[in-house]
């Protein structure tokens, strides 16, 4: 029997029971829609989180003090016996090949007083390279000056939100603000940067790292951030950094984490999350599959006579197996298509209603869903179709 003919035969059988076929494929459709919708949300969250992290640029490497033998990053702020990361360490990394910037980083939370107002905010102790490393731009005034002398002067650059809160529409440049117990002069205001995972990046103040060490009474840096040229291999740069610091420290008492590694790990975690959520949707797909097994079993029983006739007309067992398998695969695939449209439709609707809600349906998911539904049809059809092809034709013809 030609494939086109078998297909037509199966489709005719499906159409001959419109309502029942529709309800059966609806079962699969709901399952596929659930899987598509849930994985789309998973993938949307995945992309959203990765985008959040890569807004700082992906060619960033972080160095933190202390070496954790079991891997992972040492918790910051907890005193360790390891040698501290120093301003000089940060400075020395600026000379490495491919490295285009390196900033020491110290952060804390302090009260900022200026223009007669008081606000508690995040304070970053950094140097001139920071703006470049975190792809931030100055809106008015200038950023922290370069050089050893300039680096330690009591200047502050305000985040746009902080500036707004303290100075409103007044010109903040040249104003004096007090942070903790220290006094600073405002030399610039940053462009708004938005939020990162819900944290307002504009409610900040940037001061020279040395001042921050003084402010928070620390001896070592919390982290050094290095940015390297686009296109350079992160592994090569990370290795160069390790070498340089090992030379300076005499041993590896620090941890180097590239943004690339971090994103990869994060991506893996999010992928697992997406799969787990998809598996949840898969439960409803299982129910749909059971529906197909049921309806195919009923169909084989109802059409016992027809099966006997087909054998009498010279159909081979394999042909009969194929006809019934084809029927269940087509049924499931139609359900898959409907479910796909349903899932994508709901996903788009969600995006329309809640524009900030991250949903994304990659093509691979759509194709995967269709392949999966066809596969379910195949598995669900095997038993009933096998029964059909093993019927005794005499019994089948005698059946009423």
């Amino acid at each position: 029997m030609l494939l086109t003919d078998s297909t037509r035969f199966a489709v005719q059988a499906i159409i001959s029971h419109r309502m029942r076929s529709f309800l059966t494929l609806l079962g699969i459709a709901v399952g596929i829609a659930a899987v598509i919708l849930l994985t789309s949300i998973g993938e949307g969250v995945h992309r959203f989180v990765l985008e959040e992290f890569s807004q700082f640029g992906t060619n960033v490497i972080g160095i933190s003090p202390g070496k954790v033998k079991t891997g992972g990053q040492a918790p910051t702020g907890i005193p360790t016996t390891a040698r501290l990361l120093t301003m000089e360490d940060a400075e020395s990394l600026k000379q490495l090949p491919h490295v285009t910037g390196s900033t020491p980083t110290v952060w804390g939370n302090s009260e900022v007083e200026g223009n007669g107002r008081l606000r508690r905010t995040m304070i970053y102790g950094v140097d001139a390279d920071f703006a470049q490393v975190f792809s931030s731009k100055v809106q008015i005034g200038s950023y922290l000056p370069r050089g050893k002398a300039g680096g330690s002067r009591a200047f502050v650059v305000l985040g746009s939100k902080l500036c707004n809160e303290l100075f409103g529409t007044a010109n903040p440049l040249g104003a004096r603000v007090r942070i903790g117990g220290l006094h600073f002069r405002v030399i610039g205001v940053m462009e708004p940067k938005g939020q990162f995972l819900g944290v307002d990046l504009d409610d900040t103040a940037f001061i020279p790292a040395e001042r921050a060490l003084e402010l928070y009474n620390r001896e070592g840096l919390m982290e050094i951030h290095v940015i390297y040229a686009e296109g350079a291999s992160s592994a090569t740069v990370a290795a160069a950094i390790k070498n340089q610091l090992k030379l300076r420290h005499g041993k590896e008492d620090f941890t180097v984490v590239t943004q690339e590694d971090m994103l990869k790990t994060l991506s893996n975690i999010l992928n697992i999350l997406t799969m787990a959520v998809g598996a949840l949707g898969g439960i409803s797909l299982l129910v749909g599959a059971v529906g197909i097994v049921t309806i195919m079993t009923i169909s084989v029983t109802e059409r016992t006579n027809e099966i006997g006739l087909l054998v009498a007309l010279g159909a081979r067992r394999r042909t009969i197996l194929g006809l019934f398998l084809g029927e269940s695969v087509i049924l499931a695939a139609l359900g898959g298509i409907l479910g796909l449209l349903l899932g994508i439709g709901i996903a788009q609707l969600l995006r329309l209603i809640v524009p900030t809600f991250p949903v994304h349906t990659p093509w691979s998911f759509a194709i995967g869903a269709l392949a999966m539904s066809a596969m379910i049809g195949l598995l669900a059809g095997v038993l009933p179709a096998r029964n059909a092809s093993h019927l005794d034709p005499i019994e089948a013809l005698r059946a009423e």
């Binding site: 030609l2 003919d5 005719q12 087909l310 009498a312 007309l313 081979r316 067992r317």
Partner: protein, 237 residues
């Protein structure tokens, strides 16, 4: 009796037993039969005497428990299922009391079914089906489904379907059993016309008058052939 070499069907010592629970039913007991090409045979006998079982066996829908079966000089007793299917497709036509039309298919599609199953290309099928529809006077019923056809029309569709691949043997199990007398007559005349064209015709029937029309009459009782009479060619009424 014709020579074995020129026989169409040779059955030798055929036994067929059905097991129903603990009891065994001997549906065929030591059946020997020799059928020449082009014969017209009526198989008669009481209900349960094994007529259908014999027909199913000849049609390769069933296997004998003992004995041999030669079809056109070839031993078909031990063919594998696929080879059997091929023989059924090419050499055997079945006609049933209850027609067995596929209800969701049109008359034309029902007639086309053996061609479709054999893998014939659609264009060639269409030609043959329209020819068959014309021959059986069903052209204006081509697109009707089984439930829109009369009993006689249904059986004509079934006959067209059984003969579209020009089988050597036509096996009809009580073909008029579900038809009124007049329609039954029509159907029998159709079958006889096919026999006249050279197709071997084996009809199982309860109807004495109908059986009497066949040149050769086989009587069965309790699984055995009790009489096998070949009469002089009778004149069709």
């Amino acid at each position: 009796m014709p020579e074995a070499a020129e026989s169409l069907i040779v059955l030798n010592g055929i036994d067929r037993t059905f097991t129903l629970g603990d009891s065994k039913v001997h549906a065929l007991r030591n059946v020997n039969l020799n059928i020449a090409p082009g014969e017209y045979i009526a198989v008669m006998g009481p209900s349960g005497s094994g007529k259908s079982t014999l027909l199913n066996l000849i049609g390769l829908l069933d296997r004998a428990d003992a004995g041999t079966y030669q079809l056109e000089g070839r031993d078909v007793t031990t063919l594998d299922p696929d080879e059997q299917a091929k023989v059924r497709s090419e050499r055997i036509g079945f006609i049933f009391q209850s027609f067995h039309l596929v209800p969701r298919l049109t008359a034309a599609a029902n007639i086309e079914l053996p061609l479709t199953l054999s893998g014939m290309p659609a264009a060639e099928r269409a030609k043959r089906v329209s020819q068959a529809l014309k021959e059986y006077g069903l052209t204006d019923r081509a697109q009707h489904r089984s439930n829109e056809l009369s009993g006689g029309q249904r059986q004509r569709v079934a006959i067209a379907r059984a003969t579209i691949l020009r089988p050597a043997v036509l096996l009809a199990d009580e073909p008029t059993g579900n038809l009124d007398r007049v329609t039954g007559e029509e159907v029998v005349r159709l079958l006889e016309a096919l026999n006249t064209q050279g197709m071997t015709l084996i009809v199982v029937t309860h109807d004495q008058a109908l059986g009497a029309r066949a040149r050769r009459q086989i009587r069965m009782d309790d699984g055995s052939i009790v009489s096998d009479v070949t009469s002089k060619p009778s004149q069709p009424t």
